[in-house]
Each structure stands twice: as structure tokens, then as C-alpha cells.
Symmetry: C2
Subunit: 183 residues, 2 copies
């Protein structure tokens, strides 16, 4: 993990103090990138943009993209902090992969975001709050983790398979396509 | 499942025929919404926009949004067919939930998309190809399903927790916020 310790001096806990009225004492274990993700999560509660989640993507010791939860303000259930940070970083780098990047997120990623992290092929992942912490304030993260591990027949959203024989035609076409861009 | 059987007459297998050179015989089990998702998946291979995946969202017997995989053409690893269909449907309805909608997707959703389906609170899910079928043509779906079920220490992307004490401040702020919009 490449951390430029000089960044510590630039980090301010003003956002914490303004919201909570309590000055956050940064511990020796404090990390400036995670501190920024946490700061974003606090700002997001204050602004009312969405849930208490923030994330940053770091490349070569520099933050290249940030995200906050904007589900309710954008009417987009996929607008989680991590997804928006990943989309922003990919746009910046004009790439669909982030192999030399790290993600710092103020909460353990939900299954949607963890899936996005794998598809983006991030190098490392750091989180602060846990999925159970999120469940404790009313979010579905732990529930969705359990659902994903359940067989289809036991999932809360009724799920059925249709027309596999017809759909396989597209997979055969992909396998046979000489000029495809794999990802 | 509300299906308007009159839609069968409107469905054309021309897209299949044009790509594969083989006319697809629709079976008695054919469903017009899944047929459209499959048609989109085939068109997407032909156009080169992305992987062989298509999805539609149906509300009250009508398709309200469609999506195809655009990961490589948009440089966005989250631009899966299901995610784009969900985002489109939410934009159309100006809502962050799709409780009275069904998703038809040409392939079993990856964990990212399944998470998005739960966050959108879709009523039902229909899929055609399986995650193992996708693995068979080089996609990571099954791998990511296995990773999500693994403990952090055994995951391929190194994962560590930092600064939970500091991050909990945002969760407390959320819990205490009187005017929050829960989702």
C-alpha cells in the first residue's frame, strides 16, 4: 500500500466536527484515503444526497475519483458510492479496468458493489464499517449477502429460467466472433 | 406473471436469422419478453457494443426499459444489461424502486446485477443462460459468485478493514437524522 504520509497534514476533520459537534481524533492507524471516504460519508448525510456512504479510488498514491451514495437524489438504486467512484475512475482513465487502483470505502461493499469491484479488477480493497453495521441502521446489505448464497428456489425474489436453448445462440455467436473485445 | 399473448404475433426472429443464419423456432414455452432480451443479446454481439447480454424490464405487461452490455464501448465495468435496464426504468418512473416490475435477462445475473435487482426491489426475475454458461465463454460470473461467498482473507482481491470507529460517526448521524429518505 503506497501512502504518502505528507497527506496527513492536509487532512482536516472539520467535516466531522461540523456535523457531529465532536472533533474526531485521528488515531495512529488513520489513513488519509479512508479518512476522505469517511468525510464524504458524513458530508452526504448532512447534504441529504443519499445514504451515509463515501468511497475514493487511489492510483499511484493519488485520489483519482470519489463517490457518495446518491440513490435517492438520482432515483438510481445502483448509485452507490463505490459504483460511482468506479465509473468516475474508469471515465477518467478511459478504461473499463482499474488494475493498478485501490478502493477505500467507508463501509464494506454490498454484493452489487463487490461485484463491480471484481469486474473493474481493482488491486486492493479497504473498508471501515461492516455489512452488519449497515444492517444495524436499516440497510439490506447483510440480507442481500444471504440471498445471493441461497439457491434460487429459496430466494425472496421469485426466480425462474426460460428459453436457455434459444439464448445459447448469442453465447455461441460471441465465442465465434473473431474481433470481440474480451473483458 | 402477466403476459399478453397477442405480443407473440409481433415478435420476429429476424435478428436471430440475420446473425446466425438459422431461423430460431420458438417453442411453446417461448416468452415474448425473454425473446426480446435474447434478441438484444444477439444484436449486441453483431454491433460490437459489448458482451452477449440483453435485458428488459416489464411493468403491467409492457416493456418499459431495455439494456444491453456496454462495458467495453462505454468504458464502464458496471454497464451490464441488467444495470442499464434498471437505471433506465427508474429514470422513466422517477423512482429508485421497481416493486411492480419484472426483469427478463438473457443470462443469470452476475452478483453485481443480482445486488442491483435486490436494491431495485424487483418483483420477479427470469433468466435464460446460466452463470456457468457465461463462464464457459470466458466471463467471470461463477468466479465472482465463489469469491463473494469466501471469507475476506481468502478472496483474490486483498481486503482489509481500517478506521471503523471513525466511520461509525456517519452511521450514527444517519440513524439520528430526522428527515432522511430511507431506501
Amino acid at each position: 500500500m503506497a501512502i504518502d504520509n505528507s497527506l496527513f497534514g492536509e487532512y482536516s476533520s472539520a467535516a466531522f466536527s461540523a456535523y457531529t459537534g465532536v472533533r474526531v481524533i485521528m488515531t495512529a492507524a488513520a489513513n488519509p484515503f479512508m479518512a476522505r471516504a469517511i468525510e464524504l460519508s458524513l458530508e452526504n448525510v448532512r447534504s441529504g444526497c443519499g445514504g451515509p456512504f463515501g468511497a475514493v479510488i487511489v492510483r499511484h498514491g493519488q485520489i483519482i475519483a470519489e463517490g457518495v451514495n446518491q440513490v435517492t437524489s438520482r432515483n438510481d438504486p445502483t448509485a452507490h458510492a463505490e459504483v460511482l467512484a468506479i465509473r468516475g475512475a474508469c471515465a477518467k482513465l478511459a478504461s473499463f479496468e482499474l488494475k493498478d487502483c485501490e478502493l477505500y470505502t467507508s463501509c464494506e461493499p454490498c454484493p452489487m458493489c463487490l461485484g463491480a469491484i471484481y469486474w473493474a479488477r481493482l488491486a486492493r480493497l479497504y473498508y471501515a464499517n461492516t455489512a452488519d453495521d449497515a444492517a444495524g441502521i436499516g440497510f439490506d446489505d447483510s440480507f442481500i449477502y444471504r440471498e445471493i448464497q441461497a439457491v434460487h428456489a429459496r430466494r425472496r425474489i421469485p426466480t425462474a429460467q426460460l428459453m436457455r436453448d434459444e439464448a445459447l445462440a448469442a453465447f455461441r455467436a460471441w465465442a465465434d466472433k473473431p474481433d470481440k473485445i474480451a473483458y
